[in-house]
Symmetry: none
Subunit: 253 residues, 2 copies
């Protein structure tokens, strides 16, 4: 991508700035919320805020990198000498995607042993998925994008299986007031994560140039907001309802 | 090292940025965790977060220094007028490596006298180890790297001895629920620290140029994440379990 319209440049820059503000605000919301939930769910809220904090840092960096990567010349926007560092996304996902699964597992309140084993297994699968996607993202040829993209789908499908099948018994054991929200959180995870390969493969089906850049950048940005900030709100609601349910049980015991 | 490929330059830059984000996130996690442990382990959590906070500061500086040390010229990355300041690492280690041993001793909850004497002895040995390594890191000849590297191994082996033999009685006195984790923390310390001399001596066995730079920088970065952030998670888990064990004992007493 050598040139890009001023409208596209502005749209992407503003999407990055918007997402920085959203992630930073979400972080503060989750960390304030920490004091409103029972001790058992405090770590879940800490991690939920960490995910959006890490994303806020990377969106700040991405927006700076985007601003440096272009210059205005004769009324058009052209690439500067400095390349846009798209790797910030993958660095972010490598850290935040495992943590997103960890926050879901933490808020479910499984046994200590199950928490550890599921957090490690799902965390490693998520890191593997992101690690396999990156060579495809930077591949020159569409074939490279297909190859690595399909390889990354294997841990993704494994995670989907673990979420729907491996966690199903634990979902049924959630207090009734939180069960629907836990199911919703699992669906938000799977559906929002499924959006990333759609954007990813948009680059492999011949979508090129500045339109492709706009679709990819704005697409990933929307997916990140849903998968991290909106998902985090669900985690907070689950933690609040489960805290209430635990208190109710303690009172009747 | 005069030139370096764009891929290597980017990999190192992104590894630094990733580590900054990881260390900053870990810091907040440990300091939030402070409220979830008994008073006896709060100082351990404070120090655990200090180690990653100091590392976050240095990785931020290192990434800035790295960006300043190279310029893009005709599609290749060449060294700029400003030298990369590798000393940030040693400054960091000089401060954080003694503190890593201090956090381990603090979470073990030894007697006041033992805590002080072991913290001073191990802290000084760790500072000596880092101080002896630095002249080797900046030595021009491989012989200098060997000489100082081997000298630095003496305090390192002493520390290993103190951890496995000097602390063995105290390990056996840990509550059963935490004993395995304390042993794991000692092993993580020894194994992750043993990784540094491997990277260090890679420069003495003839590995040169931009490949050596990449191995050294990425290698130290991975070792730092394991030795500080992953180790800190173990310290937090030990503190949580010991807090529970202490409470249980108080309740039955």
């Amino acid at each position: 991508m050598e040139t890009i319209t001023i409208g596209q440049y502005d749209l992407i820059y503003n999407a990055f700035s918007f997402t920085f503000a959203t992630m930073a605000a979400a972080t503060l919301f989750f960390w304030f919320g920490r004091s409103q939930v029972a001790d058992a769910y405090k770590t879940a809220m800490t991690v939920t805020g960490l995910v959006t904090a890490i994303a806020a840092y990377h969106y700040f960096r991405i927006s700076e990198s985007w601003a440096d990567a272009f210059v205005l010349s004769n009324g058009t926007v052209v690439a500067s000498e400095i390349a846009f560092n798209d790797a910030y996304r993958y660095v972010d996902w490598f850290l935040t995607v495992p943590l997103l699964l960890v926050e879901l597992i933490l808020v479910m309140g499984l046994s200590r042993q199950e928490t550890t084993s599921k957090a490690i297994r799902l965390g490693l699968l998520a890191a593997l998925m992101v690690g396999l996607g990156y060579p495809g993202e930077i591949a020159d040829a569409a074939s490279g994008r297909w190859l690595w993209g399909i390889l990354a789908m294997i841990p993704f499908l494994w995670i989907v299986y673990e979420l729907f099948v491996g966690l199903s018994r634990s979902v049924d054991q959630q207090p009734e007031s939180a069960r629907g929200l836990v199911k919703a959180a699992i669906w938000v995870t799977v559906l929002s994560w499924a959006f990333y390969p759609v954007v990813f493969f948009a680059g492999a089906i011949g979508l090129e140039g500045s339109t492709a850049t706009t679709v990819v950048q704005v697409g990933y940005t929307i997916a990140d907001i849903i998968a991290k900030a909106a998902f985090g709100v669900l985690i907070f609601m689950i933690a609040v309802r489960k805290s209430e349910a635990d208190m109710g049980r303690a009172r009747t015991a």
